[in-house]
């Protein structure tokens, strides 16, 4: 192996380090931005307006800004601008007119300017931008170093680089690659731990700094009622963005930042003492609970180095066997489209389904928290799920009947006559037609008679089953026809010579020889039956009184009507498990194939 290979793999092994450093920088900047927003809102709350104007009284603004910067425990570097002029440190540079203009255009949001998060300071009415608040983030380089090399990172990274070299060493054996992969996993986890702790740290710091602001605001407000205080000061907290809130409550046990769960969602909470026995609870969504993406990024980056090492070794080994290399590459070339298709359209959705099933996930709710097995627990307790499961199982009872009819038709129509050909086409037509169209037609047909088939909970499921059978029978008939054709005539003829009549020929010869086909039809029939949705959706909407509420319909309703995708996914997994079981049994049974001749 070439010398450079070790360096390449070693360098690649440090990729997760880049990620964790970057995560720290992002967390630091987010903190600065949130703090700037909170501070601006605080100033807007506590600074009185100049008489006859919505703008602030300059002297008051100057006092408030100065007091804030010198507040004990206030650790952030703060600057407040009135117009473009700095108020806290008068010697600091003023904002450019262009920056000010940009700030006006941004309206809400954050500008980055000289390493600080800059947010507009609006007048009392919240309309015109009269100034700006800047909160300096720690220098990116410093944050980055802290994020990348904090914790156990250094020794682990050292190990990773060491093993990266060893993995691509000439003659390296498989175990060393495996160890390398394990180390890479460790690197990924450590990098993620750093990213997470940076986010956690940022949340803690925001809570502590905001607590100071809330206490300051409390001192400047006339009321002592906690509820009114909370209502008045809440805009300050909310300025930090979605998920932050201030409520009455809490006690001295919560003076330190704590992690709790509120209604299943993780929250970071700190208690603020606003007077004797009077407490406010400041809480926000902890930034670390939304670092799932970083985990995948860190692990993905960590996997790059072992992959590169394995690839390099594979190339090295196949260099001596160019034909094999060519064959392998060609094989993968042919496999690639199908693999990509499977990966994108089969495996990825399946993985996402698993992900969804352990989250509370809705299209409209921005918060999509991890809820563990809650969805599955709900599944077990949900009587509608049991109803739909029962209906699905009942629905499946049509499969053997449909099969019997289809086999009978296949036996009748396998002759080479014109009538048989026309009849075969006619029976297949429903299968190739639009299910929606068929369902609508049947809906009309079923409403004609004296009995309201679809409106009666006792008959609706049976009615839908009949329609479904009618669509499926043609397909099954065609499969049976193909199966019958595959049976060599000699068996039947031998049976005829042996003296078997038509009935016995069928039961003793044809039917046993048709076994693989019968199994195939049975299994595909059961799968299709469990997945049945369209006729239910079109004809009955699962009703009446959930009489036709089948599993697939339940999934649809949970996900798309109630927008509970996590719960819907858990139901889909139930269906998946059921069908997986059916398919497994099929493979077990199909293993013993019947060989002709």
């Amino acid at each position: 192996m070439r010398r450079w290979a070790g360096w390449v793999v070693g360098a690649v092994a440090l990729l997760p380090l880049l990620a964790s450093g970057w995560a720290a920088v992002r967390a630091e900047r987010a903190l600065a931005a949130r703090l700037a927003g909170t501070t601006a809102a605080y100033l807007a709350l506590v600074t009185p307006a100049a008489p006859g104007s919505a703008d602030y009284d300059l002297s008051h603004l100057l006092v408030q800004a100065g007091a804030l910067a010198r507040l004990p425990g206030w650790t952030s570097r703060l600057e407040v601008y009135r117009g473009t002029a700095p108020l806290v440190r008068a010697t600091a540079g003023s904002l450019g007119a262009a920056t000010m203009a940009a700030l006006r255009r941004v309206e809400v949001g954050v500008l980055w300017w000289n390493g600080s998060a800059l947010v507009p300071l609006k007048d009392k009415d919240g309309r015109a931008v009269v100034g700006a608040v800047a909160v300096a983030a720690q220098p990116d380089g410093e944050t980055w170093r802290r994020g990348a090399f904090g914790g156990f990172a250094l020794p682990v990274f050292f190990l990773a680089v060491l093993f990266a070299f060893s993995a691509v060493r000439a003659g390296a054996q498989r175990p060393s690659i495996r160890v390398h992969a394990a180390i890479a996993l460790l690197v990924g986890l450590v990098a993620y731990a750093n990213a997470r702790s940076a986010a956690r740290d940022a949340t803690d710091r925001w809570l502590e700094q905001t607590r100071l602001l809330v206490q300051e605001a409390t001192a400047r407000l006339p009321t002592t009622d906690v509820a009114r205080l909370a209502t008045t000061i809440r805009p300050v907290v909310r300025a930090a963005g979605e998920g932050a809130d201030l409520r009455p409550g809490g006690d001295s046990a919560g003076v330190r930042v704590r992690r709790v769960r509120v209604a299943g969602e993780p929250q970071a909470v700190v208690a603020i003492r606003v007077g004797w026995g009077r407490w406010l609870a400041l809480r926000t969504r902890p930034a670390e609970s939304e670092t799932g993406g970083w985990l995948w990024l860190c692990l993905g980056l960590a996997a790059v180095a072992p992959t590169v090492a394995a690839l390099l070794r594979w190339v090295e080994r196949s260099r001596s066997r160019p034909q094999r290399l060519r064959e392998t590459l060609t094989a993968w070339g042919f496999l690639a489209p199908a693999t990509a298709h499977l990966a994108v359209f089969a495996f990825a959705p399946l993985v996402f389904l698993f992900y969804l099933s352990v989250h509370r996930w809705s299209l409209i709710e921005p918060a999509k928290p991890y809820v563990g097995l809650e969805n599955f627990g709900r599944l077990v307790r949900d009587p509608l799920v049991w109803t739909s499961l029962r209906n699905s199982l009942l629905f499946t009872l049509q499969v053997p009947i449909t099969m019997a009819v289809a086999l009978g038709l296949a036996l009748l129509l396998r002759r080479h006559s014109t009538i048989a050909r026309i009849a075969r086409t006619a029976f297949l037509l429903p299968y190739v037609s639009s299910v929606v169209a068929i369902a609508i037609v049947w809906q009309r047909l079923l409403s004609l008679g004296p009995v309201d088939w679809l409106g009666n909970p006792g008959t609706a499921l049976a009615a839908v089953m009949v329609v479904w059978m009618w669509t499926q029978v043609g397909f099954q008939m065609v499969v049976f026809l193909a199966g019958l054709q595959a049976i060599p005539d000699a068996y039947i003829e031998a049976a005829r010579v042996d003296g078997a009549n038509a009935w016995r020929r069928f039961w003793r010869v044809t039917f046993p020889l048709l076994k693989p086909v019968t199994l195939f039809v049975l299994v595909t029939g059961i799968i299709a039956s469990f997945q049945v949705f369209t006729p239910v959706y079109v004809m009955t909407d699962g009703g009446p009184r959930h009489g036709t509420d089948v599993l697939a319909y339940r999934i649809y309703q949970s996900a798309w009507e109630f927008l509970q995708f996590g719960y819907g996914s858990a139901q889909a997994l139930l269906l998946f498990a059921l069908l997986f079981g059916v398919t497994w049994v099929q493979f077990k049974l199909m293993g013993k194939r019947v060989a002709y001749a």
């Binding site: 000699a490 003829e493 031998a494 010579v497 003296g499 078997a500 009549n501």
Partner: protein
Amino acid sequence: MASVTLRQLTKSFDSTGRYALRDVSLVVPDGEFLVLLGPSGCGKTTALRCIAGLEEPTAGEILIGDRIVTHDPPAKRDVAMVFQNYSVYPHLTVRENIAFALEMRRVPQGDIPGRVAAAAERMEVGDLLDRRPAELSGGQRQRVALCRAIVREPRLFLFDEPLSNLDTKLRAELRSELLKLHRELGATMIYVTHDQIEAMTMGQRIAVMQEGRLRQTGTPADVYERPADEFVARFIGRPGMNILVGVADSGRGKRNGGAVVRCGSLTLPIALAYEGQIHLGVRPEHVTVCALDQGEGNAEVRVVEPLGSETLLHLDAGGQPVVARLPGLFAVPDGQQIGLRVDVKRLHFFDASGARIA
């Protein structure tokens, strides 16, 4: 046991409009082993299937014993048939396969195991009874198929190329076994094949068919030594008979009543008064070579096939292809001119349409 009689049996499949069988009349006496021989598509299998009842003839009659069975279903004919591709039911064990026909014919349950065991013993498959066909070799499967046929003790056995899927060694083995079976059972057997070795070695009589017609019926020796027409002459024997096309001239006959035939570079005196075009048949073993100009004419060597015990010389006698079978190894370069000697006493005479003259 029973004889089989076919009376002007005719069969056409309406889709093609051609005849698969045309006016086939044949009597197979009780206890005979008759071979139906012919190239593929000659109608031999169709004839067999008509006898079995699997096809219904378009015209004509079939008698098994004294009974007309032309339109009876197979079950009523009491025949057993062995198919080319074994047709042993794959979903049944060997035992169940053999017992199948007995059950179908409602043989008392108590008798079945004994008869199955006896048949299996006879065909030496007694130790395979609990296996499934997929676990058997081709030869074993065909033995099971034979078992299935004999266990019923039918009046008539029909074989449809039963050995053609087997390798040469197995084929020879089963051939002698079938003959033994025929001797022991004394049953009437009709055996379809396109393999003339099978036909010659097994048949008490051979019926040669071509294009739906029966060309000749006779013992193997008859068919070989007195072929009824040019087709049979060419078809039987390997390589088949040489057919020399020539013109007979009685006027220049050397002997009384004879004639001289000129065909290609050969001049052959024949003991037959005949004028005009004539086809002379001569088996390769009755053609020898000699020095130039010493025989009935000269020919050019085209291909030499040394087979060890004999050598086949493919010759060109003035545009007439001739094959000579010479004993032992014979070395001669391709393209060499060589003298040809024909055993004129062994000549067969056919007219221009291929029919035998004498």
